[in-house]
């Protein structure tokens, strides 16, 4: 069985400071992992994906995530937060069949000016 845990339901950072959004997963298989961002009343936009290649994955808008198998983690980071980063972020795990896509509950990121 697969599952995703996003450890913080809400994170607040000051503009220009680093962002860390935490995600832990559980999977019986070698998973594919994704991060999505959702701005208010919008669909989800893919930030980055891990698919068993490099463990450090770079995405759009300066975000990156590191896959750590020993810790079953896939935390999302950004060196310097921008006001436009304020949104909901979802960690997603995908297993061996197309229908088994598991979304985390989401982390709401607030950026304080």
């Amino acid at each position: 069985a697969q599952s995703v845990t996003q450890l913080d339901s809400h994170v607040s950072v000051s503009e220009g400071t680093p962002v860390l959004l935490r995600c832990n997963y559980s999977s019986s298989y070698s998973p594919s992992l994704f991060w999505y961002v959702q701005h208010p009343n919008k669909g989800l936009q893919l930030l980055l994906k891990y698919t068993s290649a490099a463990t450090l994955v770079k995405g759009i808008n300066g975000f990156e995530a590191e896959f750590k198998k020993s810790e079953t983690s896939f935390h999302l980071t950004k060196p310097s937060a921008h006001m436009s980063d304020a949104a909901e972020y979802f960690c997603v795990v995908k297993g061996t069949s197309y229908d088994k896509v598991i979304f985390g509950p989401g982390t709401s990121l607030s950026v304080i000016p």
Binding site: P31, L44, K94, G104
Partner: protein
Amino acid sequence: SQTIHQWPATLVQPVGSPLSLECTVEGTSNPNLYWYRQAAGRGLQLLFYSVGIGQISSEVPQNLSASRPQDRQFILSSKKLLLSDSGFYLCAWSAYSGTVVDQPQHFGDGTRLSIL
């Protein structure tokens, strides 16, 4: 490039009325298609997915149904809406692949459905 269109963007319907939400994908063939519902302040719940025309799988029992009359068209319907059907409905597609695990899903902008 591939695009996904969802409409309408917002919809207000009375309890007991019918529903039809449409989603179309352009720029790709034989996509996998998905309908999700997102309740306020919560994560996404997969409602339906389809791997081909006329092929629909339902993840949860509910008041809704889905159809795929054409390769790149996915419709979400209801004969009689309930108050609990309120939410944000998202359509998504992913590319068909022999190794589907690494194909991300791409989302439409969603439909905000309010039931009165």
